[in-house]
């Protein structure tokens, strides 16, 4: 299992009216693919702040002091807002704590779910078009350059070849567009008919005449030479049938004379059912490969093909394409890729030496803004040059290098000028306070601590940005010659095809609605069709939370952050929601960060647990480690303060409240509330002690010189009980 998300040495604080609040104080953890990490702690322990930092939605008064959040090679704390927009909601999604306040009360549920889908689709299409064009342009350029050193390439042929590629792709796009349109109409019509019949059967209000007219007009639009090949006649008959039924329709009345507009004639129902069947059959049919057919039709505009046999046409077009064009194109393409690869490697070597120089500069004694600016520019230019533009799997570290380096350097100079001011303020205020104290006055205010950055640390950050890229380059250089050029060439064509079809893939409102209804059913909302048109206030708390989950899942994310998703819900709904998250996690191979203050909830969910207190992780381990062998006094306190079904003795409440993080404690933050606290706990913060490969805890009790302290009796008893209940199975694990 590889790490999908890494948080390293994260420090976050907030500017408040009474001083700088250190909310997160140096935490590190990583999230593996497909696992659930639970972060447990009291309110104010910084768990929500951490998750918000990952998504870049921290409040305006927050300061990220240092640290890295690495996702897919990118540092989420340094990338630009545009980059962030591509990740937030799309790759990493969040379920918020309060379902009431995270939904818009005056927008219908349906629109809230589909909104993101529609917007994303629009931008995706624009982006895909731009990427397609630039990649093709780049390929052409590289082919021309490669032709200079390879006499076997006919340089004159290249422009034509690229033009053909572009040409048949565009033709394919056009055909596919028409096909997709028809298929979308069919899909929408299918769900509309289902909706109509469903509503009628539930005796709900239906407008029969209007709806049937719409059905007929849409059914006519379904016709397409590819999509409805051979079924056009059938469609016409159905159109006529429905139109006739529409004419014959009259509103039925019951014995009391009340109108029953939902009563439909049997003939109408059968016509609708047959329409449904036809549409389902058409939608299930094999999709033509427009990429191949496009080329065939480009070369033979007059040809007439029998589209009823889609598989045969696909096969024939494939052979034609390979014979006439593709083989040659791929051979050219391979040369271009080889050329680009080689030149990029050479440039990478150059860039490495440049980076080395830049690194030396930033490690030097004194930095001058103008010089630093020139150095940054030198490094960024070299790196930009060295990017292999024909690489379709983008190397994110290189792409975001410029922004990351720039922001790190900016931060350094900003605090270089701000630090002295802050020092001065601190000295002035302390002096004033001391003067007041010396005069014997009672001073009821404290001096806000210095908000001074360690410049060396900031400098180390700059260097780490450079080092990270250098490491990636070194790895690329070591792997020289291992690249499979042919596979890459095929991959590149697939990439171009993918972009082209992304340009075509148009999500209409109707499609988005169908997808949303499917999602709502997936998260367990009954009568999704009716629910779709309701407002949030018409839902109960559990249902609202499901809507929030559906919205979070709409974009198919890699990582799901759940911020106390069940705190506002009661046990049965909580169990349902937890099961739902577990099920979705399995089905979609999600990685989940689960934030909660209730240890009972995570026993079922978590693979690993991190216990947070006062902005630090105090214990970390697999759920078995934490529940069966807890080591930190805070974990003990958390476990013993909640009653389970066998508890009868007095609860072990944690005395007091969490510390005020504007004045963070010097030693262990938990010491004042900890009955096992030793003298050293008040003087020095404990380091992380490794207990096993997976289990770590930060408490002085684990130090070899510490006195031996037993786990409190209540927890020991409980673990014993659990072990006997599980048949001693937990001993071996």
């Amino acid at each position: 299992m590889d790490n999908i998300l890494e948080v390293k040495n994260l420090k976050i604080s907030f500017r408040t009216s009474s001083g700088i609040l250190k909310a997160v104080r140096n935490i590190s953890f990583n999230l593996k693919r497909g696992e659930t990490l639970a972060i447990v702690g009291e309110s104010g322990s910084g768990k929500s702040v951490t998750s918000k930092a990952i998504l870049g939605i921290l409040a305006g008064n927050s300061i990220v002091e240092s640290g890295e959040i690495l996702y897919d090679g990118r540092d989420m704390l340094k990338i630009s807002e545009e980059e962030m927009c591509k990740i937030r909601g799309d790759k990493i999604s969040m379920i918020f704590q309060d379902p009431l306040s995270s939904l818009d009360p005056i927008v219908k549920i349906g629109r809230q779910i589909t909104e993101a889908m529609l917007l994303k689709n629009k931008t995706n299409r624009k982006r895909a078009r731009a990427e397609f064009n630039s990649m093709l342009e780049c390929l052409k350029q590289n082919m021309t350059e490669a032709a200079e050193s390879h006499p076997e390439i006919d340089a004159a042929k290249i422009p034509e070849m690229i033009e053909t590629f572009d040409g048949f792709n565009i033709l394919a796009i056009k055909l596919e567009n028409a096909y997709n349109l028809s298929s979308n109409y069919a899909e929408g019509l299918l769900s509309d008919i289902k909706d109509f019949v469903f509503r009628a059967s539930k005796k709900q209000r239906v407008e029969v005449k209007k709806t049937l007219l719409e059905f007929v007009s849409i059914l006519k639009l379904v016709k397409n030479p590819f999509f409805s090949a051979g079924a056009d006649g059938e469609i016409d008959t159905l159109c006529n049938e429905i139109a006739l039924e529409r004419k014959a329709y009259t509103v039925a009345k019951d014995e009391n004379g009340a109108a029953q507009p939902y009563l439909l004639s049997d003939r109408l129902l059968s016509a609708l059912e047959r329409t449904e069947q036809l549409l389902e059959r058409l939608l299930a049919a094999e999709k033509p490969n427009f990429f191949r057919i496009g080329y065939y039709l480009l070369r033979n505009p007059e040809a007439s093909l029998d589209y009823r046999d889609i598989a045969g046409v696909n096969q024939m077009a494939l052979e034609y394409l390979n014979r006439e064009y593709m083989e040659e194109f791929i051979s050219y393409e391979e040369l271009a890729i080889r050329h680009s690869y080689a030149s990029s490697l050479a440039k990478k070597r150059e860039a490495l030496s440049v980076l080395d120089g830049v690194r030396k500069y930033f490690s030097s004694e004194r930095l001058i803004p103008s010089e630093a600016k020139a150095e940054v520019k030198r490094a960024v230019d070299a790196v930009e040059n060295a990017i292999d533009r024909l690489e379709y799997i983008k190397d994110n570290v290189a792409y975001t290098f410029g922004g990351s380096l720039q922001s790190a350097v900016d931060k350094y100079f900003r605090y270089e000028s701000l630090n002295p001011k802050e020092e001065k303020r601190y000295e002035k205020q302390s002096a004033r306070r001391e003067a007041l104290v010396a005069r014997g006055k009672k001073v009821d205010w404290r001096v806000a601590p210095k908000n001074v950055y360690d410049l060396d640390e900031l400098r180390a950050e700059i260097i780490s940005v450079i080092d990270r890229l250098a490491a990636v380059y070194n790895r690329a250089l070591d792997a020289e010659g291992e690249r499979d050029i042919h596979a890459h060439a095929v991959g590149l064509i697939d990439y171009l095809k993918g972009r082209a079809s992304e340009v075509v893939y148009r999500v209409t409102k109707r499609m988005a609605r169908d997808k949303a209804i499917k999602l709502m059913e997936e998260v367990g909302i009954p009568d999704a069709r009716i629910r779709f048109k309701q407002y949030p206030f018409e839902f109960s708390g559990g249902m609202r939370q499901r809507i929030v989950i559906a919205i979070a899942l709409a974009a198919n994310p890699d990582v799901l952050i759940c911020d106390e998703p069940t705190t506002a819900l009661d046990v049965t709904i909580q169990a349902q929601i937890l099961e739902l998250i577990n099920k979705l996690k399995r089905e979609r191979n999600l990685s989940v960060i689960f934030i909660t203050h209730d240890l009972g909830v995570v026993a079922n969910m978590a693979d690993r647990i991190a216990v947070m207190y006062a902005g630090k992780i105090v214990e970390e381990g697999t759920s078995e480690d934490v529940f069966y062998d807890p080591r930190h006094p805070y974990t003990w306190a958390l476990l013993s303060s909640m009653p389970d079904l066998d508890t009868s003795e007095r609860l072990d409440a944690i005395p007091g409240t969490p510390p005020n993080l504007i004045y963070p404690p010097v030693g262990d933050a938990f010491a004042p509330r900890n009955k096992y606290a030793m003298k050293i706990d008040f003087e020095m913060p404990p380091p992380m002690f490794e207990i096993s490969e997976t289990h770590r805890a930060a408490t002085w009790l684990l130090h070899p010189d510490a006195p031996h302290v037993d786990i409190p009796k209540t927890i020991r008893d409980r673990i014993e009980r659990m072990k006997t209940r599980n048949g001693g199975g937990s001993d071996g694990e």
Binding site: S540, V571, I573, L599, G600, N604, A653, R725, N726, S730
Partner: protein, 412 residues
């Protein structure tokens, strides 16, 4: 019914119904719920959100005007609803309308008279019940006043006979003050409520002193020193300090706010407390503090508690008896040990199967039981009611299910 209430029952809820109007329809939030709470016990009420457990608590303390049924406190009816009587009357009307239609000339008159007599009887019952409930505060105040009279009259007479004018003046002043307060006292003040959300249940513009002493002030106590003394005493009792009295609610953490809410309800020296999810809005570590505080207060004052919550482990820990509610109905009622050992109603079983436990291995094996009311019961012919299956263990069921449950209990 009133006569039969045993002495150890502090609160009896008898067929309590609370319906809310929703346009033309009615929402049956609480539907014919009956239970007794004995003196000094903790009665837990559990169920998922929207099942009417909070509404039950609020109806008992007369925040809502109840639709049907009665609430008895110490044998005195404190709330009465009219719905059951009006239902009975309309049923009678319907029944006799049919009979009169089919009857012959002379019989019609007799039937009409009979109908009117029956209806008048029900009406009289209804009126008596409403009056009974309406007078509860008055009669309670009258009783307090007469008790005071008994205590002070002889003292005053003695003093006047002895000619001790100073003592006489003091006694008269004290008597007058106490009599005024007693006249104002309402029976319901003996029941106090702790609300779910500590943030929204405290007025942000009042200081803690004002919030806590509000009940005393409303009751007619004007002595500032006495009020302050009581406030400080109560603050220390709930684990806060004197200095907190001058602050505003926003300056406190969630747990402290809940302590203020508890202080506010305890200062009236109630005999019964309705705790409506007092810990569900709090962090785990603070929850334990508040629960410990509640049990200390319970010991100290001999409080009776109606504990409403959805967290079953907390309810189990805190309550002596537990009632399970589902969609406005009380479906199961038993001692807490018994309920967890032998849950009979399928809804209770599904509820128990959903409790999360801090035990990963058994958690991963846990199978949740899904309760579907429609699939589970067939009440089309055989109508259900709350029946006693074994001693003190009531289940809402019909005849067939009753037999089934009895067998299940016997087997174990």
């Amino acid at each position: 019914m009133e006569n039969k209430i045993p002495n150890d029952v502090l609160l009896r809820v008898d067929n309590l119904s609370q319906f809310f109007k929703l346009g033309k329809r009615e929402l049956r939030a609480v539907d014919h719920v009956s239970f007794d709470i004995k003196k000094g016990e903790v009665f837990g009420l559990v169920g998922e959100s929207g099942c009417g457990k909070t509404t039950t608590g609020r109806s008992i303390i007369k925040i809502h005007k109840i639709t049907g049924g009665s609430v008895f406190y110490k044998g005195q009816r404190i709330a009465a609803g009219t719905r059951d009587y009006t239902d009975k009357i309309s049923a009678l009307k319907k029944e006799y309308a049919e009979k009169i239609k089919t009857a012959e000339g002379g019989d019609k008159k007799a039937l009409r008279a009979e109908r009117n007599r029956l209806i008048a009887k029900v009406r009289a019952e209804m009126k008596a019940a409403v009056k009974d409930a309406g007078d509860c505060d008055k009669s309670y105040a009258a009783r307090l006043v007469s008790e005071l009279d008994e205590r002070y009259k002889p003292l005053i007479r003695e003093a006047s006979e002895a000619g001790n004018s100073e003592e006489l003046a003091r006694l008269k002043r004290e008597y007058g003050e106490k009599r005024r307060i007693a006249k104002n006292t309402r029976l319901v003040t003996q029941i106090q409520m702790i609300f779910q959300d500590p943030v929204s249940s405290l007025n942000p513009r009042m200081t803690v002193r004002e919030i806590i002493s509000e009940g005393l002030v409303i009751n007619g106590i004007r002595d500032r020193e006495y009020i302050d003394e009581r406030v400080y005493e109560i603050l220390e009792l709930v684990g806060l300090v004197r200095e907190h009295a001058g602050r505003y609610p926003h300056e406190f953490s969630g747990g402290q706010k809940q302590r203020i809410g508890i202080a506010r309800s305890v200062i009236m020296r109630p005999e019964m407390i309705i705790a409506d999810e007092p810990v569900s809005a709090l962090d785990v570590s603070i929850q334990a503090q508040v629960i410990n505080l509640l049990s200390e207060l319970k010991e100290q004052f001999g409080l009776t508690v109606l504990f409403i919550a959805h967290d079953l482990s907390v309810v189990k820990y805190f309550s002596d008896r537990i009632g399970v509610m589902y969609f406005g109905k009380l479906v199961e009622l038993a001692d807490s040990e018994e309920l967890f050992k032998h849950p009979l109603h399928p809804y209770t079983r599904s509820l128990l199967s959903a409790i999360p436990l801090p035990d990963p291995i058994s958690e991963k094996k846990r199978k949740r039981i899904v309760y579907n009311a429609l699939a589970e019961h067939d009440y089309s012919v055989d109508k259900p009611s709350l029946r006693e299956i074994s001693e003190g263990h009531f289940v809402y069921c019909n005849d067939a299910e009753e037999n089934k449950y009895r067998k299940e209990l016997d087997c174990e």
